[in-house]
């Protein structure tokens, strides 16, 4: 049967009646180049899926997604920093360090240091020098912290060899030697900060999920509007033998292009905002306060720089999958 069709097809071109009379009997060897538009748009989607609305909405989504990604990256960076700080397990603040101790000779600081060093389960106890103290206070008081005329306490960094050391009993003994001395156990704070960092990350993740969901809805609505506008053209093309895959592919290609473009614009627009935030956060993440643009680039975590370009890719995937699903489901109404 196919052979017969082929033979028939071969003949009909030559034998078609009237060709000679019309003067166009010889098929042109070279068809004019302008015959085929550069991008053949048989369903008229360039107007039905406009290049304004969908990209703008997706750009807004991508902008929000970039902020959420920055939130994730920021929370994990802070979490890491706090974890590193956890090495010193205990901090003891001795107010009026040069004052006389409660009993015996020496200053309050000397007494406390001697007491700590003599306690089993403590590996080391070391008073921070002026420079370290200033670094500690810089986020709160600025670079001039050391010159400020405030009575600063001495801060003793204590490392434990016995993690099960009873901090309560130690606090009582330190208080007796130098009244008013504060003993701060870090691990309780560390646990809270870790929970806080994890919660921040979870919130950012949730925000990303919501943004993705809204993006899916936006693409679905745009595609449905396009289907309604081009219903006539779709029915014609369907009647000419187009498969569901062909028609869905046309929509998906257009939706992918528009979503990726929008997300690219949104991601680029988010960069200055993120750099500004990084500038504000710099003193808290162990960086100098007055950072130049070049340092700001390094101020954003590498993971964030890597995930920003993934926004257009994710938007493209959302556009493609959503358009395919929406169009294929819609086409089920045609026979």
């Amino acid at each position: 049967m196919t052979k017969a069709v082929a033979a028939r097809s071969a003949r009909i071109g030559a034998a078609r009646p009237g060709t000679a009379r019309t003067g166009a009997g010889r098929p042109p060897r070279r068809a004019p180049a302008l015959l085929r538009p550069a991008r053949f748009d048989d369903l008229g989607l360039r107007r039905a899926l406009s290049d304004r609305l969908l990209p703008s909405l997706v750009a807004a989504m991508a902008f929000l997604a970039a902020l959420a990604l920055a939130g994730t990256a920021g929370a994990s960076a802070l979490g890491r920093q706090w974890q590193e700080g956890a090495g010193s397990v205990l901090t003891v603040q001795v107010t009026e360090p040069a004052g006389a101790a409660a009993d015996g000779g020496g200053t309050r600081l000397d007494r406390v240091l001697a007491l700590l060093r003599g306690t089993p389960g403590i590996a080391s106890a070391r008073a921070l020098d002026a420079g370290e103290l200033e670094a500690l206070l810089r986020p709160w008081l600025g670079t001039g912290a050391g010159r400020i005329a405030l009575p600063l306490p001495a801060v003793v960094d204590v490392r434990l060899s016995d993690p099960a050391l009873d901090a309560g009993r130690l606090a009582v003994r330190v208080e007796a030697a130098a009244p008013g001395t504060l003993l701060e156990s870090h691990d309780r704070w560390m646990r809270r900060l870790a929970v806080l960092a994890r919660s921040l990350q979870a919130c950012a993740g949730l925000a990303l999920a919501v943004v993705a969901f809204v993006a899916v809805a936006v693409v679905a609505v745009a595609v449905r509007a396009g289907l309604a506008t081009r219903r006539g053209a779709i029915e014609i093309v369907h009647g000419l033998g187009a498969t569901d895959g062909y028609i869905a592919g046309r929509f998906a290609r257009r939706a992918t292009l528009l979503a990726a473009t929008g997300a690219g614009i949104g991601a680029v627009a988010a960069v200055p905002v993120l750099l500004g935030l990084a500038g504000l956060a710099a003193p808290f993440t162990g960086q100098a306060e007055d950072v130049g643009a070049a340092e700001l680039v390094h101020a954003l975590p590498l993971a964030l720089w890597l995930s920003l370009p993934s926004l257009p890719a994710a938007a493209a995937a959302i556009g493609w999958i959503t358009a395919q699903g929406t169009v294929r489901r819609w086409l089920r109404r045609l026979p």
Binding site: I12, A15, A31, F40
Partner: protein, 222 residues
Amino acid sequence: MVRLDGVGLEFGQAGTTNRVLQAVSFSVAEGGFRWLLGPSGAGKTSLLRLLHLAVRPTEGRLTLLDQDIGAAARSRLPVLRRRIGMVFQDFRLLPHLSAFDNVALPLRLAGRPEGQVRVDAVELLSWVGLSRKLQSRPAELSGGEQQRVAIARAVVARPLLLLADEPTGNLDDLQAERLMQLLHEMNRLGTTVVVATHNAALVSRHPAHTLRLLDGRLVRDD
């Protein structure tokens, strides 16, 4: 090629059913030619839509191109549709495409190489006298010109079954005769042809096997 056994077609809308075709049985052998006659509203367009696989029968059995259409999977139908050419009463050209792109569409859907697409589409449009209107949109063409673009599109992919719904409605006598030549030639080369028409003069000039519909029933088959 085409076989209907007790085919019925109903459209159900909000509780009421509209029986458009009832107990229609006939067959057309490969290479056959049929006039499809009947007053307006008799069901001619509906019958052609059935044969074009735009609707499936709600009753009876329709066999087309060796396939039982009632039982065929939906995914089988596009391939069958590409072997069927249809000239619609209302043309159904894509308004945003040029005459050339409208005629090229069936070839592109069938995955023909672009070089062959150009040659075939240009040749067909020249044959229907539109070689100077390749780039015109349907809105820039007269009714008769649009009808000729629709005819070119229906035959360009060399269908096995060619259906035409009042294809001379907007053509003058000369153009109608040229269309008949085209249909006869396609038919002579093996294409099965079914033409619905009101044009009694045309039918008497080209006598052939006739199907006559009345109120959705086949009342004559000879």
